[in-house]
Structure formats: C-alpha cells, structure tokens
C-alpha cells in the first residue's frame, strides 16, 4: 500500500554509487555533501514512515515484485515497516546521519575520503534493507551486505596488514554464524513453507511446535551470535576496532551488531515457541559478564568500548531470552545512543592526541578538551546506568524482566555485570580525563612506572595491537606533546552534542510500551519503571562508579596493594588483560588443527592428486604419445610419398579383398 519505502535504501545507495565512481575526481566538500545527503534524506523519510506507523497499528508495506522465483520457491522483494522496524529505522538513519557528519571532521585528512563515504553509504543501504525486509531471505541480503561493509571498513587502512587480518577475522567468524543462519533459513522453508516473517510467526502460534522449530531457533541464534558478537563468536568484534572510529561507532556499536537482537525480536513469537530462549538468555548473561571482566583491564581506549559493546549486547540477548523483546529493543536503542556517543567521544580524544589510543599515555585531558570530556562523561554515565540517564532505564528494565521471569541466577549475573560496567567505564574516564597527562613520558617508563601504569608491570605481556591507526593515518603529526592537544572541529562536536542529549534523555522514551502495538508485546513490559528494581540498579551503578573513582583517583595505593602485590591479584589481572586466553584457545583448538588439515589437504589432494597425477599425468601422457608419433613427421617429401602409396595400396587391397 505504501510507495516510498524503497527510497530509504536507494538514497544512500545512490550516494555510494556517486562517491564510489566519481568521488576521486570530486572536491572534498562535494564528497561530504553527497555522502551526508543520502543518509539525511533517508532519515527524513524514516521519520515520515515512523509517524505513520506510530499513529496506527497497521504496518506499511511495499512489494516490488518477485526477487527469486524458481519452481516452488518464491521470494518477493517486499519491504515493510511496523513499529519494531520503525524504531530501528529511526536509530539507523538518525545515528547514521550524525556519524556521517562526524566523519567529515574525523576523516578530513585521509586520502581515502571518498572511498570511506562510499563504504559508509553502502553500509547504510544494506542495513536499511535488513531492517525493512519483510521476509528472511531479503533480510539475509542486508545481513550479508552489512557484513561485507564491515569487512571493507575494518580493513579501511589496508596498508597495515594487521588491519586486513582483523577484517578477515571478522569476515570468517561471521561466516561461521551465517552458516548456521542459512541452514536455519533452509529449515524454515522445509518446515513452514514460506519466508515471510508474518507466516513464520503465525506458524509458531498455531501448530503445537514441532521439533524442527527448536533447531531453526538454534541455527538462527547461531547466526545472531556471529553478527552480534556473543559467546562463542564474539572474538571478532574487539579486533574490528582496527577500523576508523566512526566505523566502530556506527557499525560495531550502534547498528550492525544489534541486527542479531533485531532478528530475535523480529521473530519473537517464533523464538518464544521454539524453546531456545533459555539458551539465548544464558548466553547473553555469560557474554555480558565475560566481556565486562575483560574490559576491566584493557588499555586501548577503543578496546574497552568494544568489550563493553559485547557486554551490552549480552544484556540485550538476556532481555530477549527472558521473552522481553520490547525491553531488549529499548536497550538496543539507548545503547545505540550512548555507545555511539562514547565511540565518537573516544574518536575525538584520539583525533586530539594525533592518533594515540593507549590510555596509559593519556590522563588529565578534561581541562584540555572540556567539550569532548563533558560529552564523554555523559556517555559514561549512561553506560554505567547512572540514575535517570538512558542506560539506567533500559538496563534496569532488562534486569527487572529477568527477575520477574524467575531467572534468579541470571539476574545475579546481570547485577554483578552492572557494577563491573560502571567500574570499567569510570576507570576509563579516570585514565583518560582525570589525573595528570602522561603522554609526554617515554613509552618505556610509562609501561613500567608503578604510579602511572594501570596494570601490574608485566614486561612479558604482549601488547594488544593499538588499532594500527598510526601507520596509515595521515593526520599524525609526530609531535605527541601536551601542547599539540586541540579540540575537534564543529562537524565533530555537533553530532556529539546531539547524541549527548539522546544518551541522557533517551530513557524517557517508553520504547517497550510503544512496541506493544506490534507483535513484540512483552509480558510485563509496562512494569519497566518498577521502583525497587530501579533503586537496586541505580545503587549498582553508583557503587561501581564510586569504586572506580576511588581506586583510580582517590587512593591509587589500594590497587597497588591488592592487585600488583598479591599473586592472586596479579594472576586475575593478567587473565583479564589477556582476554582469558580465548583467542589463544581458539587458535589452539580450531585454527591450528584447521590450518594443519589445510596444509595436509594441500599437499595430499591439491599437490599430489590434482597437480601431479591428474593435471601433470594428462600432460605427460599426451607428451609421450606425441613424442612417439613425432618421428613420422620427418619433413621429407619422399617419405610421405612412400607412406601415401603404401596407404593407397593398402586400401586397394582391402577393396579387392572385400569384393571377393
């Protein structure tokens, strides 16, 4: 019935085409204009579509005809907006537009300026297809599209091999999840016979859930763990910080990584019927806890935020896993606001310090870049769940629903994680903005000096890669002195200030109640603001913040005494700093055997069988045959004549013979 939905993905896609094909020949302001115009126009259209679904409960749909038709298989290119996708649309286009504007300032001096905007626009187009799709195959198109853009943008500074490796890792890990996803889609077709979300959800409601539903739910959830960085597939997201910071904000915090949550919410009734929800909730809670523990000791400003993203995504899955899809989407929205804000704030810090990302070489920056410091503080408060910020309402809603659903253990995990979240967030704030500036000290003393180094002095600890921005970023002036620290341009400040408002006030949007109109209606979503839960959650946040400020600002000796000078403390800190050795374990258990097997197959099958036996063998056979026949080709006419006559005689003899 509606007409203009298809314009939403098309506008950014046009921006991608123009910037991708002509961008190198256009002036920078032209690239910026084209790059930001598409997302901004899409945002306006999204607002219009949103108002329409907000006024009624009818979903807007637009069918552009068949996309795939083969035998009994039938996939329409259908777009639809209901309240759930309406909320997602606003977040994706709104935050997306802000980040595009921010990128004008952040990427100013990059030689790949047009390429960057082209990729970013392509990402937005794919993300909008993902959100607007009315069937799971079309969603998969967007799903893969955003994965591709994520890969391209992680490896944006491709001259540094570490960035390319990070991009590859993200891509490969996502493939594992997508393998599950696509198997789930096949199974849906076999079981339900349709790819439409409405049919899938309807099938879940009517039939007495067949066993296949469990496997479909499980396989789709595997896909979601890949895209949304949950245990066991979360390992790619921290490495994805190798990309430019706006990318980390847009793709790896606000939008793409939340698409797994969106998928679960989109198929909410189906997931409720499939019986995988307890698993979803458990994985979510465990991921939240694990990532928060790792975030406690990271030294790279973006790595802390990356692990915090993994942790917050865990919260969303916890919410979805207890059946409170509306609350999960609420946290998705607020998280998009404050995490984008934090990433962009971190980007502003990195920009100000000429691409320094190590927090051990920061400190005392609040006085030098007060605007950035203030907005970062706002984001940190929201992430911690400080009372009346956005994160406070959404996180506590999730915890409340968990307790309400009778998951006591998961609630406890969530509460502990909330304290940890507040702690690592303000540890980061303290290291970056409070205390004294440490960037002037030589790196070696910075790493070993007991009073500045936030970690026990483990000289042997392999330092995490710092994103590699140094190597390729042209903006690095070499001078890292305190004097060179400067505030960022207005194009970076405006998005930050808008996001600050959203991060602080976003909690007053009652997303769960709004979503009740669509199928996402969650049991007890209206109880969001229950008082006791809010008091507990707020206390957890304040305890965490106070502890972090106490340890990192008030009494630095405390940490020294308990962490650095006890073997247990050192052991735990080391464990967390090295991310519980998960990457190493995967390397040992998965990567090493796989690469050994690959080498084996390479030599055995590729080299020996195919190269030598089949290809080489065929060649050898022909060569030997030719070598023996070549003798006949003497070049002497006489010899040919003799053979010719002999042949004629032979035929004549044969004819005479057969005539008798």
């Amino acid at each position: 019935m509606d007409r203009s939905l298809v314009l939403l993905p098309i506008l950014p896609f046009l921006g991608f085409l123009v910037n991708g094909l002509l961008g190198r020949r256009m002036p920078r302001w032209g690239v910026s204009l084209v790059g930001c115009l598409g997302p901004a126009a899409a945002a306006l259209l999204a607002v219009e579509a949103f108002r329409e679904v907000a006024s009624g409960h009818e979903a807007l749909t637009q069918n552009l005809g068949d996309w795939i038709r083969a035998g009994g298989l039938h996939v329409p290119f259908g777009l639809s907006v209901d309240r759930l996708s309406g909320v997602m649309l606003l977040v994706v286009t709104g935050v997306g537009t802000l980040i595009h504007v921010y990128s004008i300032g952040y990427m100013q001096e990059d030689p790949g300026y047009a390429r960057f905007f082209a990729y970013l626009n392509l990402f937005l187009a794919a993300m909008l297809v993902l959100v607007l799709a009315d069937n799971i195959v079309l969603l998969f198109l967007g799903w893969e599209g955003v994965g591709l853009c994520s890969y391209l943008l992680i490896g944006f500074w491709y001259k540094d091999l570490a960035n390319c490796a990070a991009g590859m890792k993200a891509f490969v890990v996502n493939r594992i999840g997508d393998f599950g996803f696509i198997l789930g889609v096949f199974l849906i077709y076999v079981t339900v016979g349709s790819f439409q979300f409405t049919s899938i959800n309807a099938a879940a409601a009517t039939t007495p859930a067949p066993g296949a539903f469990f496997w479909i739910g499980l396989l789709l959830f595997v896909g979601a763990t890949g895209k949304s960085a949950q245990i066991p597939l979360y390992v790619w997201l921290p490495d994805a910080m190798a990309g430019p910071t706006p990318v980390s904000a847009l793709i790896h915090a606000a939008t793409m990584v939340t698409s797994g949550v969106y998928l679960v919410a989109r198929l909410g009734p189906f997931f409720s019927a499939s019986g995988v929800l307890p698993l979803v909730a458990t994985i979510g809670a465990l991921t939240a806890l694990l990532a928060a523990l790792i975030a406690l000791t990271q030294t790279d400003i973006k790595k802390v935020l990356a692990y915090s993203t993994v942790s917050q995504l865990g919260y969303m899955f916890l919410g979805a896993g207890v059946g409170a899809y509306g609350v999960a989407v609420f946290h998705l929205v607020t998280h998009a606001f404050f995490k984008a804000l934090l990433f962009l704030g971190a980007g502003a810090v990195i920009h100000s310090l000429h691409h320094e990302q190590d927090m051990r070489r920061m400190g005392g920056l609040f006085r030098k870049i007060p605007i950035t410091g203030s907005v970062f503080l706002a984001g940190a408060l929201a992430l911690s769940g400080f009372p009346f910020t956005s994160g406070f309402f959404s996180k506590d809603a999730i915890l409340h629903e968990t307790l309400h659903g009778g998951h006591g253990v998961l609630y406890a995990i969530g509460l502990v994680t909330a304290v940890l979240t507040a702690f690592y967030t303000f540890r980061q704030f303290a290291l970056v903005f409070l205390g004294e500036y440490r960037g002037d000290e030589p790196a070696s003393t910075g790493a070993h000096g007991a009073h500045t180094d936030p970690h026990s002095a483990h000289a042997s600890v392999p330092h995490a890669s710092h994103g590699g921005a140094h190597a390729a970023a042209p903006g690095a002036h070499g001078g890292h002195g305190a004097a060179g620290i400067h505030e960022s341009p207005w194009s970076m400040h405006v998005p930050l200030i808008v996001l600050t408002a959203l991060a602080l006030g976003g909690g007053f949007l009652n997303v769960p109640r709004f979503l009740e109109g669509s199928h996402v209606a969650a049991a007890g979503a209206e109880a969001t603001g229950e008082l006791s839960g809010l008091i507990v959650g707020g206390t957890a946040a304040i305890v965490g913040i106070a502890a972090a400020l106490g340890v990192y600002v008030g009494a630095p000796g405390l940490r020294k005494r308990y962490v650095e000078e006890t073997s247990a403390g050192r052991f735990l800190a080391n464990l967390s700093y090295n991310k519980f050795y998960v990457d190493e374990a995967y390397g040992l258990l998965v990567v090493k055997p796989l690469s050994a097997l690959s080498v084996l197959l390479f030599y055995l099958v590729d080299r020996a069988l195919i190269d030598w036996c089949l290809v080489g063998g065929a060649g050898l056979f022909v060569r030997l045959f030719g070598y023996s026949l070549r003798r006949l080709q003497s070049g002497h006419i006489g010899a040919y004549a003799v053979l010719f006559v002999l042949g004629v005689l032979g035929f004549l003899t044969l004819m005479v013979w057969s005539a008798h």
């Binding site: 006949l632 080709q633 003497s634 070049g635 002497h636 006419i637 006489g638 003799v642 006559v645």
Partner: protein, 107 residues
C-alpha cells in the same frame, strides 16, 4: 591389327608403375614432377582404351572419354605450372632441387 582393351590397360598400368617408381625413387624434384606427368598420362591412356572398348562411336562423340582426357591434360598443365613455380621458389631459397635437403616441416 586391332589393339585390345587388355593391351591398353597393361600398358597403362606399366606406365603408371614407372611413374610411381619415379616419384618414389627420384630425389630431384624436376624428375618427380615429370614422373607425375607420366602417371597422369597413364591414366589418360586407360581412359582412351575404355572409351574405345565400350563406346564404338567414340571418335565422333565429343561427350565421350576424350573430354575426360582433355580435362586431365588441362589440370596437368595447371599442376605443372604451379609445381614448377613452387620449384623455382624453392630453388631460389635453398639453391637446390633435391627433396632430401628440404625438411622444414620436420616434427
């Protein structure tokens, strides 16, 4: 005395064999070409013989075997001219008409 068909054919076969022998045994390309002419004329002879034996009106009938013979003579003339011009070109390049020394197409 009439000449029988058998005589004609024997003579023709003998001439043909001489031609084949010449083509096979001679190394000088001019002689090879001459032997080829011999073979062609052996065939002509057998054609005339057949004509005489089976078409009694042969001398008066232009559509008889003589037409074939004239045709073969014409082709032989063309073949000889082409063959000799190739021979000339070969001689200019290799300064010889000896077939054993020309083996450019050796595999």
């Amino acid at each position: 005395m009439t000449i029988s068909l058998a005589f004609c054919l024997y003579l023709s076969a003998a001439l043909f064999c001489v031609g084949v022998y010449g083509v096979l045994s001679r190394q000088n390309l001019i002689l090879v070409l001459m032997s080829l002419e011999l073979m062609l004329n052996a065939v002509n002879l057998s054609l005339i013989g057949f004509g005489r034996a089976f078409l009694p009106s042969a001398p008066a009938d232009p559509s008889g075997p003589q037409v074939f013979v004239i045709m073969v003579l014409a082709v032989a003339a063309a073949e000889a001219s082409v063959g000799l011009s190739i021979l000339l070109a070969v001689f200019r390049k290799w300064r010889t008409t000896h077939s054993g020394e020309i083996d450019l197409l050796k595999g």
